[in-house]
Amino acid sequence: MANTHPHSAAVASPRANRGTPLISMRNITKSFGSVQALLGASVEVHAGEIVALVGDNGAGKSTLVKVMAGVHGYDSGEYEFEGKPAKINSPSDATAYGIQTVYQDLSLCNNLDAVQNLFLGRELTGPAWFGRRLKRAECEVRAREVMTRMRLGNLSLTRPVGAMSGGQRQNIAIARSILWTPKVVILDEPTAALSHSAAEQVSTLIRTLADEGLGIVVVSHDIHHFVVKSTDRIEVMRLGANAASFKSREVTGEQVVNAMVGGNESVNLAG
């Protein structure tokens, strides 16, 4: 099902027909001391779908994805993965379920090359008595496969990533997240620091992943250029709860921004 361009299918058919969502979070609450960060937030992520989480600073979108990624626990609500209650208490639990996160700072080591970054923490190595010698060649082949699949075949695998452009680094961070064939990828502000053309490349890459059947969650402030153009569904959050839900194709940036700030007055952020 995921292979036949689920992106267009998702938009065309009503939600009920799309089967069990990969992730279903309902009425999640979370407080930090006396601060209520989430007051019953909900989100669903389906295979082959790009869901944007938008909202003003402090709206709770970051907290929600951190709960999703296992960085934070939650106080009440339901978190299901593929229809079953998910026991996610740490980032490694989330990884075990197939949920990968690309942080805004990318978490790359600038002095290492793409292969080393892709496999960091999960290197293929030889026996301990030989000092866990790195199986560099095997890693490089794997990395090459993933890069080719993502149509990033001409990115250098042997240059330190610190010598690369912002867009290339973002692409490598995304490539790392899909190296171990996850089901869901969470991206935190993937276009924030990028030029217009680099941001478009990243958008194309994210669509490629969704077309392969992954569920994508994107947290973004880039409403006009990225969210309404390159995602399937937009969940607007305000004050720790869902304020609105749009299909990206049926909405303008202004409408989304209105929902974010919670007013009906026309807000123009296009400039």
Binding site: D105, Q201, T208
Partner: protein, 405 residues
């Protein structure tokens, strides 16, 4: 998995291009300025003194560089993880005195005493790392304080005469042993065979999984360069009493260090932690453990250097470990690593930095000695070279527009 029929968009901006010289200078050829600098120093001193290039003097120069070189090699592990250990010279002195005391006063066998000294060095390293990560005090402060404390301990361990002679204990044999003739060539052969074996096994692996093998730059050139250099060094040393065991120990440690840094998972983690410890932590690397291992290595290696220094000076005393405060030994060890190309800001450096840096410092000392220049001038020159080396680093960074790794 079948792909959706989307157009084949090339995403990686430009096609693969040949790297520019400036980019190479900032990465693979990082070592070039030091090599040129060292060559310039050698040419200068060769013009100033007839004996500088004699086999006896070159052998001497290598010997003079080993203790600082070994210290720099150990310190590099700590510098790689973006920390510093200012107690290495004090560890060097304390463990050497400890070893001497165990032999002279308690009748330990030299082997046991040396082993215990190395273990003590590693434990002291662990202690500073633990204190640093557990309490959150910067390594600079922890090891500065610890260094002074260890200096005190060193003085406490010494007898009223303030000196332990090591003549006749067997320790002095280390510095006096030289390997000559056939044996020295056999050792070179063994070293080269290990190197060739590792290089070829890497190349075979690449071939097996269908990756291109750089025959010339990846296989032939390193092997030829290694062989030529090895033959020259052994030939020179053999024409003056043979290969000193000290130099052999240094070479073996360089080889082992190079393997750990370039080939093993632990080595990779040192670089990762040094550049971005948060990223390393997120991928599951135990950052605290890696840092502790780095400090333990620096401590153990400093102890080894202490034993070798004691063997050269035929005894230990207040002067061991550079004297109180670490003296020139501490400063020269740090300087050697940095001159060789190890970054003080973590994540950059390799074993040849320790070798080249120590050779630069050893050359200045040796050359100025031959010219009859006073010790004061040597300190000034070494200090200027350190600043110059880091300045060249910065200039390359500015000129190439990229941070160096």
């Amino acid at each position: 998995m079948a792909h959706a029929p989307s157009p084949p968009v090339a995403l990686g901006t430009q096609p693969p291009k040949r790297r520019t010289f400036s980019e190479l200078l900032a990465t693979d050829l990082r070592v070039l300025p030091v090599v040129i600098g060292l060559a310039a120093l050698w040419i200068f001193f060769a013009t100033q003194s007839d004996v500088f290039l004699s086999a006896q003097n070159l052998s001497n120069l290598l010997l003079q560089s080993t203790v600082v070189g070994i210290m720099a090699l150990g310190l590099m592990f700590v510098l790689l993880v973006k920390e510093i250990d200012l107690s290495v010279a004090a560890i060097n002195g304390l463990t050497a005195v400890l070893m001497a005391k165990l032999i002279v006063e308690f009748g330990f066998s030299p082997w046991t005493a040396v082993g215990l000294a190395i273990v003590a060095g590693a434990l002291i390293g662990c202690l500073s790392a633990r204190w640093m990560t557990f309490v959150g005090v910067p390594s600079f402060v922890v090891t500065l304080g610890l260094g002074l404390a260890l200096n005190g301990a060193q003085l406490l361990l010494l007898p009223p005469t303030a000196r332990y002679g090591l003549m006749g204990t067997g320790i002095e044999q280390i510095a006096q042993t030289r390997i000559e003739g056939m044996w020295s060539w056999a050792l070179l052969l063994i070293g080269l065979l290990i190197y060739v074996g590792l290089t070829i096994s890497n190349a075979m692996r690449r071939k097996r999984v269908g990756l291109p093998v750089a025959m010339l730059t990846g296989l032939a050139m390193p092997l030829i360069a290694g062989t030529v250099l090895g033959v020259i060094v052994i030939a020179v040393l053999n024409s003056h009493q043979g290969v000193p065991l000290l130099v052999l120990i240094f070479a073996a440690m360089l080889g082992l260090g190079g393997y750990v840094l370039k080939e093993t998972q632990f080595g990779l983690y040192l670089y990762a932690v040094g550049n971005n410890d948060e990223a390393a932590r997120r991928t599951g690397v135990n950052v605290g453990w890696i840092k502790m291992a780095a400090f333990a290595i620096a401590g153990a290696v400093a102890a080894i250097a202490g034993v070798l220094a004691a063997s050269r000076t035929l005894g230990v005393g207040v002067f061991s470990g550079g004297g109180v405060g670490g003296g020139t030994l501490l400063l020269e060890s740090i300087a050697a690593a940095v001159i060789g190309g190890v970054s003080l800001f973590g994540g950059r450096g390799s074993v040849h930095a320790a070798l080249l840096g120590a050779l630069v410092i050893g050359t200045v000392q040796n050359g100025l000695n031959l010219m009859g220049v006073e010790n004061e001038i040597r300190l000034i020159v070494t200090g200027m070279l350190l600043v110059l080396a880091v300045s060249i680093d910065k200039l390359i960074e500015k000129a190439t527009g990229q941070q160096a790794f």
